[in-house]
């Protein structure tokens, strides 16, 4: 009986860990899920043997096994059917539809203490820095990443519209840097935007402070990172003298534009699947109820 209880509790702990530390790669490994399923089968076989020995109510054992089975199903389904963990990146002010959550995430305009709001059928949940929230069968947490706010003006200093035809928000001057560019063995955040009024397309690579320190052309006392601007025309033809590497926050005249980029830390939301909470609760209650009932009758 003790071995049976230990096996059931071990399965419960393994599955509940998927809720506490969501999104770990091990949960998706075939051997891990096979191990969970095998452990449950062994527990069920052992429970049948205990039932035949007598002395323990059959319903108590049934509750124990069904509860453990529910937890096993929840854990294995999370490992095999749930989508991979991913990060939802939103431009400030933009609302991003997340089909997994059957809702949308609204990203704040302000950068001070930014709170991302999850809207699920009118029910609003705030996800702040360090916050952790369970929605449906997913755990949401805020992560910080570097984005670049760009300011573009013409040669006279008149402000120009920035568009991102391929970005998360078309009319946003904040580049979310969703892809990476390999330069000299360094993987660096990369993004692109358009300046339709000037018929220009600008590619941007962001160097953080660590990578910027490797650049000889920058002043060594630059406090932040660096930004590489590459200006081309609308047909993606390079403009002569259209590439410059400047310290973060510095304005540069390039290809008929005055460009300034300012790197800021901005929240994104990490979404990781967890075992279905309803099944976890149900399974845990059945397991605990069955275990207590079994022990009481044994005593």
């Amino acid at each position: 009986m003790t071995g049976l209880l230990a096996g059931c509790v071990a399965i419960a702990i393994a599955v509940l860990l998927e809720l506490v530390w969501p999104g770990q790669a091990v949960y998706q490994y075939g051997w891990y899920n096979a191990l969970l399923a095998t452990a449950f089968v062994l527990c069920a076989v052992r429970a049948r043997a205990v039932a035949r020995e007598g002395g323990v109510p059959a319903l108590a054992l049934l509750a124990l096994v069904v509860g453990t089975g529910a937890l096993t199903i929840a854990g294995v389904a999370n490992g095999l059917f749930a989508p991979d963990p991913h990060v939802v990146i939103g431009s400030p002010g933009a609302s991003v539809r997340v089909d997994d959550l059957h809702g949308s995430l609204s990203f704040p305009l302000a950068t001070a203490d930014p709170v991302v709001r999850l809207d699920r059928n009118g029910s609003l949940t705030e996800i702040g820095a360090g916050g952790f929230h369970i929605a449906a069968a997913f755990a949401l947490s805020q992560v910080r990443r570097q984005v670049l706010a760009v300011d573009v003006a013409d040669a006279r200093g008149a402000h120009l519209t920035v568009t991102q035809p391929n970005g998360s928000a078309f009319l946003s001057p904040v580049l979310t840097m969703p892809t990476q560019q390999n330069i000299a063995g360094m993987l660096l955040p990369f993004d692109t935007f358009a300046v339709p009024a000037a018929h220009r397309v600008v590619k941007v690579v962001l160097f953080d402070r660590r990578h910027a320190e490797m650049l000889k052309t920058l002043r060594s006392d630059s406090p932040g990172g660096a930004v590489l601007f590459s200006v081309s025309d609308e047909d993606d033809r390079a403009i002569p003298h259209g590439i410059a590497l400047v310290a973060d926050g510095t304005t540069v005249a390039l290809g008929g534009l005055r460009l300034k980029g300012l790197a800021i830390a901005y929240p994104a939301i990490r979404i990781a699947a967890v075992p279905v909470p309803l099944v976890l609760v149900l399974g845990t209650l059945l397991l605990l109820g069955g275990a207590i009932w079994c022990r009481l009758r044994k005593l």
Binding site: L62, G69, A77, R97, A137, V162, A169, P196, A197, V276
Partner: protein, 176 residues
Amino acid sequence: MNRRWIWLVVLFAVALVAVVVIAYLPSGSSANGPAALVGQTAPSFPVVDLAGKPGALADYRGKIVVLNLWASWCPPCRAEMPDLERLSHAYVKRGVVVLGVDQGEAGTRARDFATSLGITYPVLVDDAQQYGRVYAALGLPTTIVIDANGVVRAGFDGALTFAQMSAAVEPLAGKS
């Protein structure tokens, strides 16, 4: 254990599997672009008007607002503006206001452009492109129809004709 219990356990297991699989299925519906805000309170941000004075969408609460996001470099915006001007005159007595919001440009550029087209309806200058971001513009022009209670009633991507604009505001507009 009798057969009834076995069947109950099997049913329970099937239900559990259904619950966990359904939980991970993505929803099929999604509304993107300016129409995604329909039914929500229209966000407002303080910006400036063509004269450089403070202005915002919220100043027009109580009116039916046709919020038009535009920029001077955008040919469809230019093509649409005479119809917006016509709409502003046709529905002014019925509580409708056309409000242009220039996206990302200097006030001088927006003023010169509006003047050259003879635009008389109010225009705001949003150089940080806040309205464009929050109203999920997929391009320019973008037009949002907001009722007198400040609730978004319709959102359109691309240039509209006068007939399309009228059809959008007619159900909301009061009697002249």
